[in-house]
């Protein structure tokens, strides 16, 4: 693993009177899988969306691959968004397009490849997420787990250096959730990407994460390895890891 690929420096963000992020500072290293763990409404999805400029901080710096992207306009964000892809919570597949058109969207948008070349690339990405023969289906014909996989195939279609996962296992049954966890690990191993996984699923966090960051009420209370997280005495983190129960009852 190299130096910092993504860096947050004293990032503040509010919506109206509500302060969502209150001085977030931490680094995500090149090639690692960083899990941002936190309860509902802790601001973790908002944090993730800052990395590709879907939100702008009120104050602070967001540095991606050495560039402070705060203040970038949509045009300047194009190279950042090609470099770092995002997997949205519900998949966010385009309803009106087939699986093939969804996965090939980025290639059609940003390259001059022929339809045959795009089709071949789409098949290759779909096989990476262990899907076959679904190219001509519409998103409405897919199960929840398949939608997530297609969305993941769409995210990796442009061979990004980083992938952001927003609640990748939410709403899936435990078995499907585990296959998604395996895929996240697989992506890192095979594509050598930097991953940021936002989740409240503790099991998933420990399975996929190299390091864990714990976000609580807009503040980063802990950043460390999975083992350090398990041993941490940070009260809010312990409380969260114990599922809200007192120590010793877990």
């Amino acid at each position: 693993m190299g130096g910092a690929f993504i860096r947050f420096v004293d990032v503040h963000k509010g919506f109206g009177a509500k302060k969502v992020l209150q001085g977030i500072t931490f680094d995500i290293l090149r090639g690692e899988t960083m899990v941002v763990l936190g309860g509902s409404g802790s601001g973790k999805s908002v944090l993730l969306r800052h990395i590709i400029g879907l939100h702008r901080p009120d104050r602070g710096q967001v540095v991606v691959d050495g560039e402070d992207i705060v203040g970038f306009d949509e045009e300047q964000l194009v190279p950042v968004r090609k470099k770092v892809a995002m997997l949205f919570q519900g998949g966010a597949l385009f309803d009106s397009m087939t699986v093939e058109e969804n996965v090939g969207y980025g290639l059609r948008e940003h390259t001059d490849q022929s339809d045959e070349a795009i089709m071949a690339a789409v098949r290759a990405k779909l096989s990476l997420v262990e899907l076959e023969g679904v190219e001509h289906l519409m998103p409405s014909e897919l199960s929840g787990g398949m939608r997530k996989r297609v969305a993941l195939a769409r995210s990796i279609a442009m061979d990004p250096q980083g992938i952001l996962y927003d609640e990748p296992t939410t709403g899936l049954d435990p078995v499907t959730a585990n296959t998604i966890n395996d895929l996240i690990r697989n992506m890192q191993a095979r594509l050598n990407v930097t991953s940021v996984v936002v989740t409240h699923d503790i099991q998933s966090a420990f399975l996929v994460g190299d390091r864990i960051a714990f976000l609580h009420e807009g503040r980063m209370l802990f950043v460390g390895t999975v083992d350090e997280a398990r041993r941490s005495r940070e009260a809010a983190l312990r409380h969260f890891l114990n599922g809200g129960r007192a120590e010793g009852h877990a």
Binding site: R81, A92, F94
Partner: protein
């Protein structure tokens, strides 16, 4: 009160930015023909029925009402003139825009709004593409092209509706009615009707896209945005019609 003013200013600002961004995208890049053709069909061709049925019955009612009113002055022969002028200058553009605007505007806001609340709009941005170019530009261009065509069609069908009443109820020969129609209409009448339509088309398209792109909060939010679009589009068509009529009468 200050909050309301601030909100209105914010909405106006957001709306203006959308218009400016759309104009920039139209100038900067060629439209995607395949998408545009789909939109032309969806918003234009599929609106033909609603536009023509509205116009047909409006033309027939106009002929009946004017013959009834003009009879008191012994001027029943001018039914063709009144139907043609009312339709081409006013009722064709306004009624078509209201009906088609309701249909198309609601559809656009529901579609774009659903994409917004299911993060599909963010997904377009996340893939380094522009939601304005992908979603707004084809819809604005399609309505801008199709609404004037629908209005011309509605004008024609409405005049034919008047013809049906003139020949069946008022015992006027068809040629006589049509001569009055042709004599009454000047190129300025047609241009003023179409000029208004272009403004109405832009208002409907931008309001519908703006409301969709700013929808929040799930199905409830999309429903609210859709209602707001129909109300806002209808009111702005009617209000701007007054000012456009004054403007066109000045020339």
């Amino acid at each position: 009160m200050r909050d309301v003013a601030a909100l209105a200013l914010q909405e106006l600002g957001g709306f203006s930015l959308l218009v400016a961004e759309t104009a920039r995208e139209v100038v900067r890049r060629r439209p995607e023909w395949r998408v545009l053709m789909g939109q032309l069909y969806h918003h234009g061709v599929l609106s033909v029925a609603i536009a023509t049925v509205t116009a047909l019955f409006t033309g027939m009612v106009l002929a009946l009402q004017t013959s009834y009113s003009l009879a008191a002055y012994g001027a029943k022969f001018f039914v063709g003139d009144v139907v043609a002028l009312s339709l081409v200058r006013e009722l064709g553009p306004v009624l078509t825009s209201l009906m088609v605007g309701g249909r198309v505007g609601a559809g656009i806001t529901a579609e774009v709004g659903t994409m917004k609340v299911t993060e599909q709009v963010d997904a377009i941005r996340a893939m380094a593409a522009s939601p304005v170019r992908k979603l707004v530009v084809p819809k604005v261009l399609a309505i801008l092209l199709m609404l004037p065509i629908l209005v011309v069609l509605a004008d024609f069908v409405g005049i034919m509706g008047g013809l049906i009443i003139a020949t069946t109820s008022l015992n006027q020969p068809a040629v006589f009615y049509m001569q009055h129609v042709i004599k009454a209409l000047s190129p300025q009448d047609i241009m003023s009707g179409l000029g208004k339509t272009v403004v109405f088309a832009l208002l409907i398209a931008f309001i519908a896209c703006y409301k969709g792109l700013n929808a929040t909060g799930g199905a409830d939010g999309v429903g609210r945005a859709t209602t707001e679009t129909v109300v806002a589009a209808s009111l702005t068509v009617l209000i701007s019609d007054f000012f456009l009529t004054k403007l066109f009468l000045a020339f």
